[in-house]
């Protein structure tokens, strides 16, 4: 089985496939590209969170004849961006439901003039009462979406939660909150669109999912599939922020291209990207937990609420993942999760690395430490008593058929971090040191791939071809945006075929060339698409052996010669494979029961945190991450994913706050939206255990999102350890620490002001 096979290329730290171009500054991101006769686009956006548009006025000092103006009336097809539901308009038509909602588009050859002109459009509104928080939406006295403000809801039940309370020795409750988070990819969203009556729409852009954009444009332009072409350009970071948003941006640019008769480039500046595009869903998760006298879980009653913003976009799938990750990596006979995504009049929230899991895992992993404190059990011991093991069932009754090695991962994490010895030392030092130190742990899993029947529905197609000039290409719509798609897929192909790494390239991520291997999301690329490429590679060799005269053992030269013989006979050299679900995957979407994910990655995070009692700042001093995510396809890339995800998780916990006023992000500049710098990120130690998963590419499971799940709870658990104060909400800023600690401290500063 390839998953366990000894390999030459897979598992090696081969250099990043497109690395040299990136290092030379030769890689072409969307703003580096110009098209002949290109104009520039700009967007006029709502300045109120909810209301009717009474009038749109164009300042008379501008010669509008130079500009192309587009409104909803210009849309040839449907005025919606279809992700799951079709509730989000492409352009606001008569009403707005969030600040910064796009209303009018304009294009002009001069990119400065078009910005100035966009600022010269005056819109008058009849405001309607807006809703800004989960609580306001829940009250349902103002309905802003559907019949009841509920974008989506789930109910997950295992056993009989209500029967457990009476027999419980301990019952512990808690409420945990997470704020919005911005992706802050260093390259802003951008596209170039072209339109012609015969050719249809062509899009180049910074994006994760060419076929998502493709699908959205079919509806907006009422075009057949072969009249829309989407090409991903080198993408400077995405993290989910370019999963759905580019569909809107592409539609905007394409509408301007259509109406102006020119290619149109729209690249957001930082202020616009921060204010107007998607972010991570804020959440509120409530736990009520019953345990027996030994600290073993008897029942978990969980309520998950997310803020979805003004339109549903991906809120239902984010809620699904949050629901399925909310019980944590623990065995519990009775579980109930009631979850709802609520509509508010804010910029719609969307995909962001983790996709509901960071929110849910923050809650359960903080809650485990709260339980431990409440019932007098060490937090490590409490987890060990309740970890899932082989053969156990999860909250959805999925049997853990693959090995679960949480104890082993925990042992390694504790050993490497010196957890126990440090806690003893810090307890002593904290008595006199103004910087109080503590250690915190988080244990978690992350489901790889789409939930339940999702992968079956995606029905991904991917493969290999060999061009007439002897280039072996991987054919996928899975994109590179730093995480290593290009490298791992060409590694897999080269390995499986029997060529060298340098022999295999990626076909351009162009819907006109590559099949739909599904979106580049959900930590599915190495596992699902990797496996498709592996199979397609073996299938190619098989085809060449059957029809190209290739022998059992062959050299590089033999291979290419066989390709030519095959091409002469069949016309082209292509090998495609379709997704095949691993056996025994059954998922009931109604009851939320069965195999929620085909595979899980498992992880333990340990944080060492110092809290400075002079400035009330908490800083992560050191961090350890131990994970089991199947076979590591490339140790440099895999390590880089974990380190980067942890840095983002640290930002999520301690630095990154989205400040909304009247539903508009007011700290929409990098100087005021704070991510950790090279001086803030602590030393991060990464350890992989590997249990190859036979249904993943060369045994790989997903790792891209896993590392973002653990830092926030580990850090706040460490803060609790350090100062004995429990914080249940992130981002946790010094001002928040100050408010709690200054209240706890005897009031010395009684001076009047």
């Amino acid at each position: 089985m390839s998953a366990h096979a000894k390999t030459r290329i897979v598992g090696s730290p081969v250099p990043r496939k497109e690395g040299v171009d990136k290092l030379l500054g030769r890689a072409r991101y969307i703003d580096d590209i110009e098209r002949e006769g290109m104009w520039h686009g700009a967007t006029v956006r709502s300045t109120i969170p909810r209301g009717l548009i009474r009038s749109i006025g164009f300042d008379r000092t501008i010669d509008w004849s130079e500009f192309t103006i587009v409104t909803a009336a210009d849309i040839p097809g449907y005025n919606h961006i279809q992700l799951i539901f079709a509730d989000q308009p492409c352009l606001a038509d008569g009403k707005v439901n969030h600040c910064d909602e796009a209303i009018v588009l304009m294009a002009h050859p001069d990119k400065y003039k078009v910005r100035e002109a966009a600022a010269a459009v005056k819109i008058e509104y009849d405001p309607l009462p807006p809703v800004f928080t989960i609580e306001e939406s829940e009250r349902q006295d103002v309905i802003v979406w559907g019949a009841d403000n509920v974008l989506k809801s789930f109910l997950l039940e295992k056993g009989d939660v209500d029967s457990a309370w009476s027999s419980a020795t301990h019952i512990v409750e808690g409420e945990y909150r997470t704020g919005a988070q911005e992706h802050l990819y260093i390259e802003n969203n951008g596209v170039i669109a072209e339109y012609s009556a015969d050719g249809g729409v062509t899009i180049w852009g910074s994006l994760q999912c060419p076929y998502y954009v493709h699908k959205s444009l079919l509806a907006v332009f009422d075009l057949p599939e072969d009249k829309v072409r989407v090409i991903q350009t080198e993408t400077g970071g995405a993290f989910g922020g370019k999963e759905d948003y580019p569909s809107t941006l592409a539609a905007h640019a394409a509408l301007l291209a259509m109406k102006s008769g020119h290619p149109v480039k729209m690249v957001y500046d930082r202020m616009e990207d921060l204010a107007a595009t998607t972010k991570r869903h804020p959440s509120r998760v409530r736990h009520r937990t019953a345990l027996d006298a030994n600290g073993k879980l008897l029942a978990m009653d969980i309520e998950v609420a997310t803020d979805g913003g003004a339109y549903s976009t991906l809120s239902s799938t984010v809620l699904s993942r949050a629901t399925l990750h909310s019980p944590g990596p623990y065995l519990c006979p009775n579980v109930r999760v009631r979850s709802r995504a609520w509509a508010t009049n804010t910029v719609p929230y969307g995909a962001f690395r983790g996709f509901g899991a960071p929110q849910a895992i923050f809650a359960i992993e903080r809650h485990m430490d709260e339980i431990a404190a409440a019932i007098g059990v060490d937090p490590i011991e409490l987890r060990r008593r309740n970890f899932l093991h082989d053969g156990d069932t999860t909250a959805t009754e999925q049997v853990m058929r693959e090995p679960v090695i949480l104890d082993q991962l925990l042992d390694l994490a504790l050993a490497e971090s010196g957890y126990h010895a440090k806690r003893v030392r810090f307890a002593k030092e904290n008595r006199t040191n103004p910087v109080k130190r503590g250690m915190g742990v988080a244990a978690f899993y992350h489901g790889s791939g789409f939930t339940g029947s999702g992968e079956r529905n995606l029905n991904s197609l991917a493969g290999i071809d060999v061009t007439a000039d002897g280039k072996v290409r991987v054919l996928v719509s899975s994109t590179e945006f730093g995480q290593g798609t290009n490298t791992i897929l060409t590694q897999i192909a080269a390995e499986a075929i029997g060529l060298e790494y340098e022999d295999v390239a990626m076909a351009p991520p162009d819907t006109g060339i590559v099949p739909n291997s599904g979106p580049t999301v959900a930590s599915r690329t190495s596992m699902v698409v990797g496996r498709l490429i592996e199979r397609a590679s073996l299938q190619l060799v098989d085809l060449l052996q059957k029809h190209g005269g290739l022998s059992e053992v062959f050299s590089r030269e033999d291979f290419f010669a066989a390709c030519e013989r095959y091409r002469a006979a069949k016309g082209e050299v292509v090998s495609l494979c379709r997704y095949e679900a691993p056996p025994g995957i059954f998922w009931d979407d109604q009851k939320y029961r069965g195999e929620a994910y085909p595979a899980y990655a498992w992880s333990i995070h340990v944080a060492q945190v110092g809290v400075d009692t002079v400035t009330y700042s908490a800083e992560v001093e050191e961090f350890w991450a131990v994970q089991e995510a199947g076979r590591v396809l490339n140790p440099v890339l895999a390590g880089g994913q974990i380190e980067g995800g942890i840095a983002q998780g640290i930002g999520y916990a301690l630095y990154e706050k989205v400040l909304l006023q009247n539903g508009h992000m007011v700290n929409n500049q990098m100087t005021n939206y704070i991510m950790p710098t090279a001086e803030d990120v602590p030393p991060i130690h990464v350890y992989f255990e590997q249990i190859p998963f036979i249904h993943g590419g060369y045994g790989a499971k997903g790792i891209g999102e896993l590392p973002h799940d653990g830092p926030a709870p580990a850090i706040l658990n460490a803060i609790r350890d350090a100062i004995g104060v429990s914080f249940t909400s992130i981002p946790l800023l010094p001002e928040d620490l100050f408010q709690r600690l200054a209240a706890v401290k005897p009031v010395e500063e009684a001076a009047a002001v």
Binding site: L23, L24, I186, E234, R270, G645, I684
Partner: protein, 169 residues
């Protein structure tokens, strides 16, 4: 380029260049638009992310904050000037080997900051590396492998001090 503006002359990557643009045009835009050197990137326009970093008369600057009039007679080095005759600069080589670039958008600026650091301090310790790169935001790597790349490039002169740069603050 509008020939109505007076000429501004400077050297870029060893080559003399002359532009006729508004004196308030940002050096970043002159490099990218007028000189078609698109390696230098715009990430924020506020001097916060460092992806526009270039070297100006040997100093590290954020080109999004430099009006081109002030570049008169200056010598500019961009990422395009690092490799020599098709051979990667040792820092570029180190980044490739150590995984210092993921999405690559911060990489040109990061390379310029690292070049500047090593030019002034050939064997920086960990604190000095962190400080030298603190003005360059990377959202992908968590910085660790960028630090590794700088240490690796510095070590190529075979000095023992490079090995002391352990991952401790």
């Amino acid at each position: 380029m509008n020939a109505g503006w007076p000429a501004i002359e400077f050297v870029v990557n060893g080559e003399a260049r002359k532009v006729h643009v508004s004196p308030m045009k940002r050096l970043l835009d002159v490099l990218r638009e007028d000189l078609r050197l698109t390696g230098t990137k715009e990430g924020c326009g506020e001097g916060e992310c460092g992806s526009c970093s270039v070297r100006m008369n040997g100093e590290l600057v954020n080109s999004c904050l430099v009006p081109v009039l002030q570049v008169q007679n200056a010598s500019i080095q961009t990422v395009e000037g690092l490799a020599c005759d098709g051979e990667l600069h040792p820092l570029q080589q180190a980044f490739l080997h150590c995984g210092g670039a993921q999405c690559g958008i911060c990489t040109p600026g990061m390379l310029m900051a690292a070049t500047h650091l090593l030019a002034n301090n050939p064997h920086p310790n960990m604190a000095e590396i962190r400080e030298g790169l603190a003005g360059n935001l990377c959202r992908c790597t968590g910085f660790k492998r960028i630090f590794d790349s700088v240490i690796s490039a510095a070590a190529q002169t075979n000095e023992p001090t490079a090995q002391e740069a352990a991952h401790a603050r």
